[in-house]
Subunit: 189 residues, 4 copies
C-alpha cells in the first residue's frame, strides 16, 4: 500500500486550477509540507473515503502551514469527468482547497502528474516534506491515526532555508529527466 | 420528511434510459410494486446514503417482483451532469437497475418527472403499489427498517388484475390533468 | 445464519425480570408478534450491533403491537454477568423493553431458554408470530431492511382468536416434550 | 474538551492489574510516552468509541515505545463492575495492554487515580510525555487524526535521561501535595 523514498517530488502539471487565485507549484511551496491528494470525481473510494479524510485533515491541521492540494487525475471516462463537472463537484462537496486538473498527455490516457509520480490509481496521496522530498505515498486510504502521525512529523521538521532559496531554479528542470527518476524510484511499492 | 397519498402515480417522463433493453412506463409495470429512486450524480446525500440503500434493497428483495427504477432528476448544474457523465457514474457505482434521465422542461430548470411527482429535491423515493397508487414518498433517506417494512407491505398486497388489464389505456392521459392532480396531492408534505 | 420452522415456540424460562411490572410468558402474549432478542452483556456483537438494531426496531414499530423481549442468556463467564451487572447495563444502555434473565440449568452452562430454543450463541433473535409459531430465527445480526420486512409481515398477519383463547392451557406442557421437538426442529440451520 | 498543562503527572493508584506480569508505575515508565485510557466497562461511549480507538492506536504505534495503559475508573454502579466482570470484559473485547483497577477511596465514590488526575468522567485519556509531564488530557474522544498527531509528537521528543534517573524518588511524594496541584492545574478545561 505504501512506500517511502528520499527522492525530490516531481513538479505538478496542471491545465486548470480551482479554488486558488494563482497557479501553484511544488517549487513555490518549498519550505512547507504539502499533502497531494489525487482523485477522480467518479471514483467511489475517493468520494466515500479519501475526500472525507482530506477534509478531516484540513480541520485538524487548519492552523498549521500544511498545504493541501487536490489533483484531478482522470485516467478513464475522460468525457465524463470534464472541468465543468469537476467545478460543480467541488461546489457540491464543499471542497475549498486548491484543486488542479492534471494535464492530459496526448499520447496516453494517463495524465502527466500521475505519470510523473508513478501513481497507480485513485485515490492516491503523496506527502511532501518541507525540503521538497517525498516523505510517503500511498494508493488507497490509510488509517486516520497513521495519517495524523505522518503529517505531524512532516510539520515538526525544521524549514530548510537553503533549499527554499533555490526553489525557483529547481523547478525549471522538473518536467525533464528528474521526474522520470522520481517515477522510477516510486514504482517499487 | 414523508407523506402518504392515495393518488395514482403520474407517468415517468424520460429522455434516455440506461440498463434496460426497452423504455419502462409505470403503466406497463402495473401489477408490480415499483420503487422510484430519484437522484443526481453530484448530490452527496445520494451517493453516500440513498444509492447504497437502494443497493441494499435490491439485495434483500432481489427475488421478488419489486421493480427498482432510478430517475436522474437534474435540477442544477445541468452542464455538469450530462448523460455521458451519468453513464460512467452508473458503471463506476455498479448500478444495475434501469435508470432514466428525467426529461428536461425547456421552460424550467426542474425536469418533468420531478415536476409531476412534486419532488422537493434529491434524493427522493416514491413507493408505488401494485395498483399504481403512491404508497409513500419521502425527501431524504429513511431508516432501513422502515423502508424494509414498507416494501414488504407493498409486496404482500394482492395483484390487481382488473387494473392491470386497463394499464395501457390509463397511460395515455397521464401527462395531462391527472399528473397535475397527483402533484397537487403530494405537495402537502 | 437463519432458518424458518412452523413449530410452536417453546415457553421462556426466566428467573428474574427487569423493565416489566409482571413476568411475561409467550403464552400470555399469544395474538401479538414477539421479537425475542437474546444477548449477553459482555458479548461485543450484542453491544455493538444487535442491541442498537433492537432499539431501531423499537423506534420504527413503537406504535404497533409488536412485543420486544430481551433474554440475557449467559452461557459463559457466569460470575461476571450477574443480574446486578445486568441491571446497571440496562440502565446505562437505556434499554427500556422487558428483559428476562434466562433461568440457569444446574446441569449445564447453557441456560434453559437457550436450550429450549436451541440457540447457538449470542446474539440470537427469534421472531414469533401471532399464532405462537416461530417465523424466523437467526444467530448473528441480519440486514435492517430484511428485519423490517419480516416484522412487517408478522404484524400484518391476522390475529388468531381461537389460538389466543387456548393460550393458557398450551402453556402448561411447554417445559415438557414439545420444547424438545421445537429445539430439534431448529437444529438444522 | 481538552487542555494542556506542563505539570508532572500524578502517580497511578491501582488495586489490581491485568495483562501485566508486574504492577506498573508512571515513575517506572519515565522516558517513554504513556497513553492512559480511563474507562468503565458499562460506559457505552468507552465500548463503542474510545476502546476501539485505543486498539487502533496500538496497531499503528505497536512498534514504538509508546506504553498504553488502561485504568478502570469505576465511579458508579460499583457492585456491577467488579474485577471479576472486568477480567471477562478484557477477555471478550481482546484488550491485551495492561489494565489497572483504580483504587477505591473509602470516603468517595470516585477512585483515587481519577481524583489525582481530576478526571471528569469516562472515557478520558491522558497523554504523558517522556519527561513525565502531562502533554494532553481529554474527556471524551477526539478525532483519530489529532490523536495520531499528538502521539507522534510525544514519540518524537528526545528521551530525558536525567529525569529518568531520578524517577524512583520523584514517585514518593506523588500521592501528596503534588497531585493536588496537578489536579488543580487541569481543572480549567
Amino acid at each position: 500500500m505504501s512506500s517511502t523514498a528520499t527522492t525530490l517530488a516531481p513538479e505538478l502539471a496542471v491545465s486548470e486550477w480551482f479554488n486558488t487565485p494563482a497557479p501553484l507549484t511544488l517549487a513555490g511551496l518549498r519550505g512547507r509540507p504539502v499533502l497531494l491528494h489525487t482523485f477522480q470525481l467518479l471514483c467511489p473510494g475517493c468520494v466515500a473515503e479519501s475526500i472525507p479524510q482530506v477534509q478531516r485533515i484540513e480541520r485538524v491541521f487548519g492552523s498549521t502551514d500544511l498545504q493541501v492540494i487536490g489533483i484531478h487525475t482522470v485516467f478513464e471516462h475522460h468525457a465524463a469527468m470534464t472541468p465543468v463537472t469537476l467545478k460543480a463537484f467541488l461546489h457540491e462537496y464543499r471542497i475549498r482547497h486548491p484543486v488542479g486538473v492534471d494535464r492530459a498527455d496526448p499520447a496516453s490516457d494517463t495524465p502527466l502528474t500521475m505519470q510523473r509520480f508513478a501513481l497507480r490509481g485513485t485515490p492516491s496521496s503523496v506527502l511532501i516534506g518541507r525540503d521538497g522530498t517525498i516523505l510517503h505515498h500511498v494508493f488507497g486510504v490509510e488509517d486516520d491515526i497513521a495519517v495524523g502521525a505522518r503529517i505531524a512529523m512532516a510539520l515538526s521538521a525544521p524549514a530548510p532555508h537553503a533549499l527554499r532559496a533555490s526553489a525557483s531554479t529547481d523547478e525549471q528542470g522538473c518536467a525533464g529527466g528528474r521526474c522520470e527518476v522520481a517515477a522510477g524510484g516510486q514504482s517499487t511499492d
